[in-house]
């Protein structure tokens, strides 16, 4: 507990320097699958430049155009109870110190979801953070940079897998063969 308070006192300075996601690595100690994405600066610009020219891609491009960084950490576990929610406290404390008020908290059947929006001017927030703590999956999303609530709504709604095309000539459906044997994962 003492260590936590010392950490919390040090946070106002740390808040200016950005959150160190390495401090969350212990959450994944027992994870069977880990997704770890850090996109910032030139890499984020490069990624955006390689989006296509269709409507969906242009929509994404304008969404990410002014962002400073996108960070995703997601851990998947074999069974319930394989991570400690308390290990998220440094991240929550950082958000609080950096003025990212929590705007949504919802709990259900032992699961928890929280959304934080960074205060800013001109009708846009300075970022959005999401913590989703499910029984066997823990996800943190941290998007830094000007992002409007409309963009957040888009991110929670219309951003989806591309719509399927009509198959112009059908799929054949002739007799099937599978030369290779099955392999186990």
């Amino acid at each position: 507990m003492k260590r936590f308070w010392l950490f919390a006192l040090a946070l106002p300075l740390a808040a200016q320097q950005g959150f160190d996601f390495k401090s969350l690595d212990k959450l994944g100690a027992n994870a069977k699958d880990v997704t770890n994405i850090t996109l910032e600066g030139d890499n984020l610009k490069l990624a955006s430049n390689f989006l296509g020219s269709d409507k969906d891609d242009q929509s994404l491009k304008s969404l990410v155009a002014n962002l400073k960084g996108i960070y995703v950490r997601s851990w998947e576990f074999e069974r319930d109870g394989m991570y400690n929610v308390a290990d998220l406290e440094p991240f929550r404390a950082y958000l609080k110190a950096s003025q990212w008020p929590k705007i949504v908290e919802v709990k259900e059947d032992g699961e928890l979801s929280e959304i934080f929006l960074k205060s800013s001017d001109a009708g846009k927030s300075g970022g959005v953070a999401v913590i989703s703590a499910e029984r066997r999956e823990l996800t943190i999303v941290y998007i830094e940079g000007p992002i409007s609530l409309a963009d957040v709504a888009k991110l929670s709604g219309s951003l989806d897998i591309p719509n399927p095309d009509v198959l112009k000539r059908g799929t054949g459906g002739a007799s099937k063969s599978n030369a290779n044997g099955k392999k186990d994962e």
Binding site: I37, L39, S48, L51, I70, V106, A174, S177
Partner: protein, 102 residues
């Protein structure tokens, strides 16, 4: 049947069209005819190497950047899809909670 078994069933290979092999074999050259007019073997190899290097090196640099860009783009799309799934999950929890309390 779970989704993975369903996918295996739905995605079993189809047979190639009946004339596919014939088209491939027709396109294959009957005999490889390679004739080289040899001048000085070492000189011609060195020249060929220099030409290839001059052509390939910039292409490799461009190819590397292209590859890095594609990887970064794929990471971006994955990050946004994870965000989408997570926010939608939160929305569903809110809707269920709202229905229960009303």
């Amino acid at each position: 049947m779970n989704i993975e078994d369903r996918l295996r069933q739905a995605l079993e290979r189809e047979a190639a069209p009946a004339d596919f092999k014939r088209k491939v074999m027709q396109a294959v050259p009957a005999k490889k005819n390679v004739s080289l007019f040899w001048w000085n073997r070492r000189l011609s190899l060195a020249l060929a190497f220099a030409v290839v290097l001059a052509a390939v090196v910039p292409a490799v640099i461009v190819e590397n950047r292209h590859r890095r860009g594609i990887e970064a783009r794929d990471q971006l799309l994955t990050a946004l899809r994870v965000t989408n799934t997570t926010l939608r999950h939160t929305k569903q929890m809110i809707h269920r909670n709202t229905r229960r309390s009303s």
